[in-house]
Symmetry: C2
Subunit: 449 residues, 2 copies
């Protein structure tokens, strides 16, 4: 009997744990779920004969050694910076590891040791990162197998709210709110027509690109922080255009740009007297005064908007011009904005979330330039199997099964960019309705020989 | 005989060293000037009988102990982060210390020890910081002596180029170029009508204030990074408005705002292939493409300017749309901008610089609101006695003389906010033509009782 140990039983663990339990008999597994909150773990495991829920604290060295030491494979859903604690214990005990997080430098440093011990430390096997890597490499493989040469790669992904659950702001928090508030801070980097391009943060939400997803209409995209990170990993150093972006419902970026222009997404300093400050006074700590203008007009003037514009109405509907008092003391502008939005953008158990992904590739083949558009839309099924839980959890769970069956023989700290990983994972995801729809075009003129 | 040791013989040391040598006979001093560059030190000391030039390296522990140990007072013109090396040696040897730099946390930590040993470690005694502190405290003293209550304090300072030496951009580097490029990055903080106000960097150079300096016309001011820093130091915690700003020639801020909007003042990342990149390609790494637009139009469209506007003409005149190649590899945008500007904004030995300072105070007295405007303009005299050298060097040198005469009895890490310092220093600065002109007004309506 193989032992799987899942660390973390939060929202995004639901679908993953169901998958593991559903396969526990046929694969002869015992599935242990550990969380600081035992109740949460117990709820996820239910009465399953091969399931076991425990209270687990990664910082407890004795428990860490005992539980990880007893496992054949660990799936860590810990906050990203804590994976390495699990990874070191896995190394010491010869246990495989799966995470949906970006490879940290600390994780990368374990590559040689994991390789030497024949262990798979598979990371970035969620949705973004995860399904994006796998679907990209699958298309790239196909193009190269045909003899095509990739010229342009653009990739878009967004964790959104389904149209039927939408609010006037076009967003609810289905994912870590702080990450949404701080998204894009710094400088976005990408490549276009062979050259690096840069977008400073204060321009990011106004330099949007509109894309169309068949059956779902249009979305706005803003550039990710560092599109160049995967150039070498994907083997795309010679590709002229390399751009990764985040999708939002139309109108969202224009509203978020207003927050950026005001400066209220900043987390680099604190307001010494934030407690008791009204939201109106908070806003007008950033927006300069203009004699004779009412609040709405003053804000509209600052944002260069008509005072009845959609953006202004969205801001007013967040109570930002009201006398509501801020309960947080010594808070950063970002923390205050998060507090404001948490209430208005609450993801309700009755809401449906939606993950949207699209890749736009251009390649040369047979003297012609081809365009391949591949789109995936996944919706949540119920309050437990949200789309985030499905698209993060299923790839990780499927990969865990492949590792335990000995089907993955790439050892060390690994991304799902290898055929032996992405082919069977993408194949099985289809059974769960997670699949891409492709469109093929020929781009205008023939390419000179 | 007292021994004065000046560390650093760069541009801003000239006037200071002259002052010290001019007083060496009457005060019975020996003046040693140490610099990494012996020639520079020797040039500043000349043939003066009481002067001595040495090659000096603050990192050489033996030399540091010997030279500082032999002195009665050290004036450090080292880069700010190196003062503490001199300060610790001063502590060990019972030597007074004078610097024109901001007090660092490391310097502040030596306060108790310096106090205990009866040493004066006087900092921030240049122009800004320095003359600003002294003239502020002097006015505040006068207002309080009359029974007035300060309500509003605004202070402006700029190290500029004199009108007769001006170029089309309204600026030359009379001061550390890197500081000019990075000026204002972060969030500006000040107090207005009793409340903290914030200006994010991308708004800083468009939220300008215009001030008038009698005889010199108008200047534009942008907010300093942290005006609140001196609230407690100046005893101004109860003052409704507290604002410190940097002065520029009209038009400069609008041009600099264009650089900020493009993102080319950023020093937080590097361009991997900057060497050999043309300036045109550098600019268009930041400015998005628009089909059918020529370079100038494309830039003008991005900046929301007519293509023959002053800002666009200033940018074109910097060769920013030319095929000139960047010689720096792996450089940050800020480093590239600095390289571009260094050549165009070179301060020539025949140029005249100018330091402009203005304070605007409002106070209540006798049931009325009064407005006091105090302005100082100083111009360089020749290529050695620039205004920067005069306004930084003279306050420090005068204060050094006062310390050696035992006239300053505030010990520890000290700012020139004490009457025994600012009164005689400001008095003596007048002899060198550095003085303030005041205007008094009554503000509109009477204040309710």
């Amino acid at each position: 009997m193989k032992k799987v140990f899942v660390i973390g039983a939060g929202r995004s663990a639901t679908t993953m744990i169901s998958y593991l339990l559903d396969h526990a008999h046929s694969e002869d597994w015992q599935v242990t779920v550990g969380d600081m909150n035992l109740e949460l773990a117990a709820e996820k495991v239910g009465q399953h004969a091969r399931g076991r829920a425990i209270a687990f604290d990664i910082q407890d060295t004795a428990q860490r050694a005992a539980e990880i030491g007893a496992a054949d494979l660990v799936i860590s859903l810990l906050p990203a910076h804590m994976h390495v604690l699990a990874a070191e214990e896995c190394l010491a005990n010869g246990v495989h590891l799966v995470t949906a997080s970006y490879v940290s430098p600390e994780m990368a440093a374990l590559d040689a040791q994991a390789k030497e011990k024949g262990l798979v430390f598979l990371n970035e096997i969620g949705v973004d990162p995860g399904i994006d890597h796998m679907s990209t490499m699958e298309m790239l493989d196909r193009i190269q197998d045909m003899g095509g040469v990739l010229k342009s790669y653009k990739s878009y992904c967004g964790a959104l709210i389904a149209p039927e659950s939408n609010n006037m702001w076009g967003y609810k928090f289905t994912w870590a709110p702080r990450n949404v508030i701080l998204a894009g801070q710094g400088t976005a980097k990408y490549r276009k027509e062979g050259r690096e391009r840069y977008i400073p943060y204060h321009q990011l939400f106004r330099r949007i690109e509109e894309i169309d997803v068949p059956g779902y209409g249009s979305f706005d995209a803003y550039a990710n922080r560092d599109s160049l990170k995967y150039s070498a990993v994907y083997g795309m150093d010679g590709v002229e255009t390399l751009f990764r972006a985040t999708l939002r419902v139309p109108g969202y970026c224009q509203m978020w740009d207003a927050f950026v222009q005001m400066g209220i997404t900043d987390h680099s300093y604190r307001l010494p007297h934030s407690q008791g400050l009204t939201l109106r006074d908070f806003v007008f700590s950033f927006v300069p005064a203009h004699a004779g203008l009412r609040d709405v007009e003053r804000l509209a003037f600052f944002l260069d908007q008509p005072s009845d514009s959609t953006v202004i109405r969205k801001i007013v509907a967040l109570d930002l011009l009201s006398d509501r008092q801020i309960p947080l003391d010594n808070a950063s502008p970002a923390e205050i904005l998060e507090w404001i939005l948490m209430e208005k953008w609450l993801f309700d158990p009755n809401d449906t979330d939606m993950v949207v992904m699209q890749h736009q590739l251009e390649y040369e083949l047979g003297g012609k330039r081809h365009r391949l558009i591949s789109s995936m839309v996944d919706k949540g099924i119920n309050r437990w199997d949200t789309s985030i839980a499905r698209t993060v959890g299923l790839p990780a769970a499927i990969a865990a099964r492949l590792i335990l069956k000995g089907r993955i023989q790439t050892y060390g700290v690994v991304l799902p960019i290898h055929r032996e990983i992405f082919q069977p994972v993408l194949q099985e995801l289809k059974k769960f309705g997670i699949h891409f729809t492709e469109q093929q075009f020929l781009v205008g003129e023939a390419v000179g020989v």
